[in-house]
């Protein structure tokens, strides 16, 4: 089973990652302003060489983070988008900054792992440019750390793409969960992947990937059956629920059952 090929992000920092990174470094050196598109997966926004925003279709967007937090409504967020930084009365600046940074690093994690070809187009600076400025070196360092951390928790990449399916039996007396892990478990319906749950909950995609792997390592969700990665982004319309599934048989129980039946006869 080629688990590596199924990883949400390219698990190995290959040529593609360095190509996008090299492009960002070049833009930094030349102090360019504009948008670096990464295939059709998303884009980095740069202003005077610094990365000021990033969006990826694989990562929960800034709008979902802000609205999902319950601090602003969709309408308020729309006003913030139109009015720019001055028109953000509903959201204190430190919080907008924080959401912007969380979204930036979340998207950058997936974009830097992408195999797509980067293309730069000069243009006006992104509206968040006055808020965040991140160097390509910081992005690279943070993405490497995130990758290592995922694998340190539970080196089973297919978990990232498979639906979160809670186990039926917990063979322990007590379980301690973080808030995010609990949110994933409570909202898991056996169909949605960690990324889809993240979008729905308004949480960062990386945070949910990490929480899902922690749940897997703790034996609270079922190890994912290896599936082909999805080509399309999470569809807004959910497919109908599949018929109830049997959990895989426990061989030990079957063997003991057979022995017991033999003794009865």
């Amino acid at each position: 089973m080629s688990g590596k090929a199924l990883a949400v992000t390219a698990a190995d920092p290959g040529n593609e990652e360095t190509r996008i990174l090299a492009e960002l470094r070049r833009l930094e050196k030349e102090r360019r302003t504009g948008v670096l598109r990464v295939g059709d997966e998303g884009a980095f926004h740069v202003a005077e060489g610094a990365v000021v925003f990033a969006g990826s279709r694989r990562a929960t967007g800034l709008d979902r983070l802000a609205v999902g937090s319950g601090m602003v409504s969709t309408e308020e967020w729309g006003r913030i988008r139109l009015g720019g930084l001055d028109g953000a009365p509903g959201l204190p600046r430190p919080q907008l900054e924080m959401f912007a940074l969380l979204a930036l690093f979340d998207a950058a994690y997936f974009l830097l792992g992408s195999a797509a070809v980067p293309r730069f187009g000069a243009g006006p600076a992104h509206w968040l440019a006055p808020l965040c400025r991140v160097t390509p070196a910081t992005l690279a360092h943070e993405c490497a750390r995130r990758r290592d951390r995922l694998d340190a928790v539970w080196p089973v990449p297919p978990t990232d793409l498979a639906p979160v399916v809670p186990v039926r039996r917990i063979r322990r007396q007590r379980v301690v969960l973080t808030g995010l892990q609990a949110e994933l478990l409570l909202n898991a319906d056996g169909r949605r992947t960690p990324a889809e749950l993240a979008l729905d909950l308004g949480r960062t995609t990386y945070g949910c990937l990490l929480a899902a792997r922690e749940l897997g390592a703790a034996g609270l969700i079922r190890p994912a059956a290896v599936r082909a990665p999805r080509a399309a982004p999470p569809a807004p319309v959910r497919p109908p629920a599949p018929a109830a599934q049997w959990s895989p048989p426990d061989m030990d129980v079957l063997v003991r059952l057979r022995t017991a039946l033999k003794e009865c006869m």
């Binding site: 204190p92 919080q95 973080t178 960062t204 990386y206």
Partner: protein
């Protein structure tokens, strides 16, 4: 209005403050920092303190067992200084917290706690308001 860096710079004005890091506990990301010698420092700080906060949160002995109980502060005292880990509550994605390192001779724990709480409130991020 002050941005995050402005808020952290004000925290650095607390007597004895050595360094401060704002960390997203869900990912271990150093959202912002002040007072660190170099940039790598803050990322290592964020990753390491995230582990510490997680272990405390996961330890059943640190709970009171009462409904609605939550951990809001972790204080580590050493002979040369102390560390204040202030958790922001559930307002943000993941568990946002602040790590403040203070010098033992120049700083005062009670004062540092009050300053940090006030700054967090000013950031518009009141923790648990119950």
């Amino acid at each position: 209005m002050l941005g995050i860096d402005g808020c952290l710079n004000r925290i650095m004005e607390i007597p004895g403050a050595r360094s401060v890091t704002l960390v997203d506990g869900a990912s271990g990301l150093a959202v912002a920092a002040a007072g660190h010698r170099d940039r790598l420092d803050q990322h290592e700080d964020a990753a390491a303190t995230t582990e510490a906060v997680r272990s405390v949160l996961a330890c059943p002995a640190f709970g009171t067992g009462r409904a609605g109980d939550d951990i809001t502060e972790i204080i580590v005292r050493g002979t040369r200084g102390f560390h204040l880990l202030t958790l922001f509550g559930q307002t943000f994605d993941g568990q946002l917290f602040l790590h403040l390192s203070v010098d033992h001779d120049k700083g005062n724990l009670a004062l540092a706690r009050i300053h940090v709480q006030r700054l967090i409130e000013e950031m518009g991020v009141t923790g648990d308001e119950r």
